[in-house]
Symmetry: D2
Subunit: 169 residues, 4 copies
């Protein structure tokens, strides 16, 4: 189906999207993310758990609970967004230098399927890490019945804030 001589291996290489070689500027990034997560009291309200921290990638687990639902009994789109936004924000923070705080500038979420099911994992990954602006890509996966379903995807922008009174991590 190709026109011309494009090599076959490109089919796997594209799309690139996620950052291939993240540069760690703070060796203590994991402790830093854990400490900041513990201060996000809204994560405790949602029962969200930090599951995985790596340079440029963070995963947060959350379980279905009746008090997190919308009118049809699915996880509310806002609860979905909350955990994917936090996963993406912390993925960005893993690559920031010490002293910078992370803030969400904007994000866009597409809801692909009702957030039915009992267990979910939010995956946040860095697409591009700049000094001020970090672009992120995230998703929420439903894990029920040994089947993985992508419930939502996010594309957004995080910002490093420095020297602002009272803001860190």
């Amino acid at each position: 189906m190709e026109r011309g001589s494009e090599p076959e291996e490109d089919a796997g290489a594209w799309p690139l999207r996620h950052l291939k070689s993240p540069v760690v500027r703070d060796p203590d990034f994991e402790a830093r993310v854990r400490a900041s997560f513990d201060k996000q009291l809204f994560m405790a309200t949602l029962g969200a758990r930090l599951e995985h921290i790596a340079p440029g990638e963070v995963r947060i687990a959350v379980s279905h609970r009746p008090d997190l639902t919308q009118q049809h009994g699915f996880l509310h789109a806002g609860a979905v967004t909350s955990v994917v936004d936090s996963a993406c924000g912390y993925a960005a923070l893993t690559l920031m230098e010490p002293g910078a705080a992370v803030l969400s500038v904007e994000f866009k979420v597409n809801l692909l399927a009702p957030a039915a099911g009992k267990e979910f994992i939010a995956i946040g990954k860095v697409v591009r890490a700049g000094r001020t602006i970090t672009v992120v890509s995230g998703e929420l996966v439903s894990l029920d019945d040994g089947r993985e379903t992508v419930v939502a995807i996010l594309q957004g922008t995080m910002m490093a804030v420095r020297d602002r009174a009272g803001l860190s991590d």
Copy 2:
């Protein structure tokens, strides 16, 4: 500053954005929104209150609480999104015919200022109401100290779902 003869009153008329003449297809739209909101248990978890229901516009109030915060003590972007998404979804529902259920397809949120302050109001308005797709525009306003600050704006898409088992309003 004009080139040519554009009449001065245009400056007020543009941008149009919000729907000028919403058509109500269900005279019981207010009761319907209230009943659905009461089933969104996540709204109760956030302490959110339905404040205003009109054709094509819904407002939801929420107050600062420590258990809704991110790491710097501001309202979490996900909590912000939750109430603006619900306000927009219910604004869409006010214009749907009886029997249709509303689902969020996607939304995009820009966070303009930290969600500092004690009292907030989420405003959801319909931009275009179609049979299947409704486009919405929302914002979260902080109301402290007699001053109104726009904390976040949303642009998104809601969908009317019909004849799907178990889904209504």
Copy 3:
């Protein structure tokens, strides 16, 4: 339809969205926008014309032409986006201090109706102007037959870039 005593005039005041009191940092903002627009050769390719420049608001006109269409003969969503993005970028530039260049960070476009018709106007307005980040809101309006139809709306982020070799306005 109100719960409680909210005053009636609020209905007009909300949503706020657009910046109420734009601060001009460069008195020559109009000449600056015109000069930069003339350097955007893609605008000439689209036949786009700068129609209005005010602090925090810029309007660009474009006409239907067969070579700007998608497969059904409507203006291509990319052509729509191009003029609304430029209107929003220049709206942001009207409020930047001398020497800063404007770049689009991201934008989100909802297409409300097929871009049918002969004449269109793109309106870009500033929602929040910060030192680095400016949030904008835009729309494309079709002007045919004395009727105004909103074809597309945009919500996005512009950035002021300083001291980067070769970039200005």
Copy 4:
């Protein structure tokens, strides 16, 4: 860096994002995409070429030309969006049944780097294909100097339109 016993191979499996097993409903999808692309006269205006068509994935190439630039000489964000939007729309069309036409509902674009360089490829992929709504993910990659740079990423929604006079593919 894991908490608990999550198997290591998950690191490669997540994020899922793109559709794993696209279902082809029209065996003539390739000819259909080519015919529709040829009717998008705006693609010819941009000098865009259809490079690759597979179930759920389409790639479009475009080259730098002075008449496609913004004020700093880079490819205009609107030109970038145009080709990525078309790649995504046609990726969606590859999976639609005969007779359905594709329209863009909305998209969100993050610009990661100035679109410098001479040759670009836009990649559009399907994330979820529904009867009415198809969610897509795209990017523009700059190919200069043997180096691939992601210039922009897109997340958006396409819609299948049926039985609307005059609309096909």
